[in-house]
């Protein structure tokens, strides 16, 4: 008991500010790594590293702020946030800014932001709220409702078009359903129903460039200088890293700019080229640790809503990781999902850190209740 007392005293400051130390350590490790790899991928551009540091700093602040809010508050906000999010998505479709052939940004004069990012948090909250009102596992009627709740924002985001975010948002909703006890026969039924869905997706929803990405994913060597270029160069970067890597700042694929989008979506390729398979295993361990900690927090949570939300957020974090590494290493088509917390750039870091803030709030709130 003395040990627990000692631990409590030591972590009391963090505890008071709702900070989960293991999760924080995992996040900080990734952030430190992020700055190193951005430095290398950006051609040793210090300005870039500083901008990334500022962004990560803002992310930490956001996380701490979010962590101070009680999970009960989120529970109350959830439906409102969801409705607001859907409204924003509709607004984007109607008045949004075009960027790279896709309508993603909403200009509110003061700030420009992507409503789809809000939906990454709002949808799992809404789902967790909706399902935790009733006894788990959800009834058939509620399951159907859940699908509608998921489908609305997903389709709106896919229409922008932003396939990567649509996948992330949809999976965050499905994870809530799954954790809530969605019956396996429904899951199997859904998987078999996905065949006609994929048909509709391919023929009516996907844009030409997205189809091209899928086609070149299936056979990148067919177009080595065109759309297959990204994936071929990325695989060369990863493969040529070997077991030990070429060494920090010595990745020829990245330093000589053969690798496109080095500091954003393809930053994992830079890392793999310079640090090799051993580096990859270490990076994966950090991610595995964070995910394990997140699931632990979810399991230990006292309340249904918190459990479902925490579980969904951490599993969505894994989807980020899986889709990004999968696409740069040629397992999945290139859909534009960053490597969480490591890729250079904007909005996703803030959203991710907010979700970690929620996880921390859930983690510490439970203990407050217990005591």
């Amino acid at each position: 008991m003395a040990k627990t007392e000692h631990e409590k005293r030591r972590s009391s400051l963090f505890f008071r500010f709702h900070i989960d130390i293991p999760l924080l350590l995992g996040i900080l490790t990734l952030m430190a790594l992020s700055m190193c790899v951005v430095y290398s991928a950006g051609g040793q551009n210090m300005d870039m590293v500083i901008r990334q540091a500022v962004r990560l700093g803002i992310g930490i602040v956001v996380m701490i702020v979010v962590a101070q809010i009680s999970p009960f508050t989120y529970q109350k906000w959830a439906p409102h946030l969801y409705i607001l999010g859907v409204a924003f998505l509709l607004a984007v479709l109607l008045f949004g800014d075009m960027g790279k052939g896709a309508q993603r940004w909403l200009d509110l004069k003061i700030v420009k932001f992507q409503p789809s990012e809000v939906m990454k948090l709002a949808l799992p909250m809404m789902m967790a709220w909706f399902l935790s009102v009733f006894t788990l596992p959800p009834s058939s009627k509620n399951t159907l409702f859940s699908f509608i709740i998921i489908a609305i924002p997903t389709l709106l985001i896919a229409k922008q078009p932003d396939l990567g975010t649509a996948i992330l948002v949809a999976s965050s909703g499905f994870f809530v359903l799954f954790l809530a006890g969605l019956r396996f026969r429904i899951i199997i039924g859904l998987l078999s129903a996905s065949v006609p869905f994929l048909y509709i997706l391919w023929n009516f929803l996907m844009h030409g460039y997205q189809k091209q990405r899928v086609l070149t994913f299936l056979n990148p060597e067919s177009d080595p200088l065109g759309s297959g270029y990204h994936i071929i160069q990325s695989k060369i970067a990863i493969g040529s890293g070997g077991t030990n890597g070429k060494g920090f700042l010595h990745g020829t694929q990245s330093q000589l700019e053969f690798l496109p989008e080095r500091h954003t979506d393809f930053i994992f390729s830079v890392f793999s080229e310079e640090f090799g398979f051993i580096g990859v295993l270490m990076l994966m361990s950090v991610y595995a640790f964070i995910i394990a900690r997140g699931i632990y927090i979810a399991v230990r949570a006292q309340e249904g809503f918190a459990k479902l939300l925490a579980g969904s957020l951490i599993l969505t974090f894994f989807v980020y990781l899986f889709v990004n590494i999968g696409m740069v290493s040629g397992l999945l088509p290139v859909v534009g999902v960053p490597l969480p917390l490591v890729s250079y750039g904007g909005t996703s870091i803030v959203t991710l850190m907010a979700s970690f803030g929620i996880l921390m709030a859930i983690s510490t709130n439970k203990r407050l209740l217990a005591s």
Binding site: T135, I295, I325
Partner: protein, 644 residues
């Protein structure tokens, strides 16, 4: 409220359900991570070699480095062909978006003529687009300076310092040394066929004529390479390794520039050829064809105007008259015919004929008369006098008795009617006629009358000056047949090696005293009071021998007189002379041919005299180290040379 009553029970059931699902999720996460790691293991460990190679292929490019072309030197070490740094304006087509616009903009800084532009556009059509191509060469310092200021405005356009071939002696040696020119489509095709194209990856010019062409392989050297690291835009980041090129070999000639200079002076205003050769080893001492032209024009691309002026000139400066000029040898081949007569025992030194000024077929009822050059005739003529005085009747009769078959066979043994084997690709076989030749050429039988003019080196018989020089050497050497050569030594990477002297099957069945008789008669031609070359060599400090020749180009009717005034300039006689010195131990054989100049004794022999005078005045005999004759019998070349 319904919920509240079951809260405790529901809570633990829900917690259990959630825990189960969380564990399933975690297992799922671990499995999927396993998939990722498995795939990464496949890429990074299992397929490492293949991706390592592809990565290196991406970044490492091998760039060729052109070797420095070997220089060509004369007997005194004077450089006849060298490499000089020049600045040229080059454009890499790949890096230029709008070629016309760029050229227009550049021409505001550096003046570009229409000719430059059209030549450049033509040249980029069949070159690789990343290879820089010159649009203007030999930039002045001022042009270099003014472009450098504006350099930043023109991506893909740059000033390059390169080594360009330079011939310091302008037109003195054009036909011997030749020149290099831009590699063209035909050259590329030939290099590809010889699998030499790799070695020319960085080379821009290639030997087009003369020694430059014949010794292209030796002069060129071996292209080196450097491995460089490039970025995705193919810009060179750094050098990884370098294999230095091996420079081309230097060539050493036995030609003396002073001899060439003298030859040009003497032949100025005439069309003609002078060739001097050391009969001991076939080394060429002088080789000059007039008119000549400046080879430097051709190095970096000659203008169309100048080119057509040279090509279309009536005087045919491009023709190498020494090796391609097909002249009737005229009386210069009388020594060979006399030798054959002695050898076949048709004549003896004492045999005398009566020359009334004309010759007619004996026993035949043919009225046609063959005239002597001297209308009144020479009276009684023996062997010595027939050469000294160049009596035509003596040789009409001899040829008639020898017959074409014997003459043709013997002529071939002296090298007539075939390539001499000189190290130039521009060579003609000329013609040593025979029955078979006439049948094939004219579909006609050989007539007896055809043989008569062969007796005085006319009719169908033609020879190049280099063939005459070779035949004279055979005479001087009493049967040893040595092929002429311009290059006497090659220095490859600091190591000098003499080029081998090639010997052909000798004429070893002719008695020494017969050779001596002919040589003595040739001595008399120069030294006896009534010798045809006597006046040309009066007072020379060395003893020499020779034979004059006057080739008729205009057929006179049987009773017509040759009158200079009545004959068009281009129809006038060619003046010929062959000679050698010193008489006792000859070290120089000389052949002079001057087109439409008139009699050989008065127009060609004095030229030979001047050349020989200079040869001895320069002390060339003491400078020359005669190459040893290696006992190799070179087969007579049957390959067709260029210029045929």
């Amino acid at each position: 409220m319904r919920r509240n009553s079951y809260q405790i029970q529901d809570h633990s059931a829900e917690a259990n359900l959630f825990a189960r699902r969380a564990i399933i999720s975690f297992v799922f996460v671990v499995c999927m991570m396993g998939v990722l790691i498995g795939n990464l293991y496949y890429l990074q460990v299992a397929s490492y070699q293949s991706y390592q190679t592809r990565s290196n292929d991406n970044r490492i490019k091998v760039q060729p480095i052109a070797p420095n072309r070997g220089v060509i030197k004369d007997i005194n070490g004077n450089v006849l062909a060298t490499n000089e740094p020049t600045f040229s304006l080059e454009i890499i087509p790949e890096l230029v978006d709008d070629m016309d616009e760029t050229i227009a903009a550049v021409s505001e800084v550096i003046e570009l003529s229409e000719e430059h532009i059209s030549a450049f556009k033509k040249s980029i059509k069949y070159q690789r687009r990343f290879k820089g191509m010159p649009i203007k060469t030999k930039l002045t310092e001022k042009e270099v300076a003014s472009f450098s200021v504006h350099q930043h405005k023109f991506p893909g356009v740059s000033i390059e310092a390169r080594l360009a071939r330079y011939y310091p002696y302008d037109s003195f040696l054009t036909h011997a040394v030749g020149y290099v020119g831009k590699i063209n489509k035909k050259d590329i095709h030939r290099l590809e066929q010889n699998s030499q194209i790799q070695n020319y990856a960085a080379t821009r010019s290639i030997g087009k004529l003369g020694i430059e062409r014949f010794y292209e392989t030796q002069l060129h050297g071996i292209t080196g390479s450097e491995e460089v690291e490039v970025n995705h835009r193919s810009r060179v980041i750094r050098q990884l390794s370098v294999t230095p090129p091996i420079p081309g070999s230097d060539l050493h000639l036995s030609i003396d520039v002073e001899m060439q200079k003298k030859a040009q002076e003497i032949l100025d205003g005439n069309r003609g050829a002078i060739v001097a050769m050391d009969p001991r080893d076939g080394s060429i001492l002088a080789l000059y064809s007039n008119p000549s032209y400046n080879p430097n024009y051709f190095v970096s691309g000659i203008s169309q105007k100048l080119y057509s002026k040279i090509v279309n000139s009536k005087d045919k400066p491009m023709l190498n008259r020494v090796t391609q000029g097909q002249y009737p040898p005229a009386s210069t081949v009388k020594p060979q015919l006399a030798l054959l007569g002695l050898h076949n025992k048709l004549i003896t030194p004492e045999t005398t004929i009566w020359d009334p000024g004309y010759w007619r077929f004996p026993n035949l009822d043919v009225k046609r008369r063959f005239r002597d050059w001297k209308p009144s005739g020479h009276g009684h003529v023996n062997l010595s006098l027939s050469i000294r005085q160049s009596c035509d009747i003596y040789y009409y009769d001899l040829a008639y008795r020898l017959g074409i078959d014997e003459i043709s066979k013997f002529g071939h043994r002296f090298g007539f009617g075939n390539y001499t084997g000189i190290d130039l690709k521009e060579e003609s076989k000329a013609n040593m006629p025979s029955r078979e030749w006439k049948k094939e050429r004219f579909k006609q039988p050989w007539y007896k009358g055809d043989t008569i003019s062969i007796g005085i080196g006319q009719g169908y018989w033609t020879a190049t000056p280099i063939q005459l020089a070779m035949a004279t050497s055979v005479m001087v050497n009493k049967g040893t047949v040595i092929e002429p050569r311009i290059v006497t030594g090659i220095t490859n990477q600091g190591e000098y090696q003499a080029t081998p002297v090639k010997i052909r099957e000798p004429i070893d069945d002719v008695e020494t005293e017969n050779w001596d008789l002919i040589l003595k008669a040739m001595y008399d031609t120069v030294n006896a009071d009534n010798g045809t070359a006597r006046s040309a060599f009066v007072g020379s400090v060395y003893s020499s021998a020779g034979k004059t020749g006057t080739a008729q180009l205009f057929s006179l009717g049987e009773d017509e007189e040759y009158e200079v005034e009545k004959v068009a300039e281009r129809q006038r006689d060619n003046a010929m002379y062959i000679g050698f010195a010193p008489f006792d131990s000859p070290s120089i054989v000389i052949v002079v041919a001057v087109e439409n100049a008139g009699g050989g004794g008065s127009n060609a022999a004095p030229i030979a005299r001047q050349m020989m005078d200079l040869y001895f005045a320069l002390g060339i005999p003491s400078k020359r180290k005669v190459a040893p004759l290696i006992d190799i019998v070179a087969p007579v070349s049957t390959t067709v040379k260029a210029g045929e």
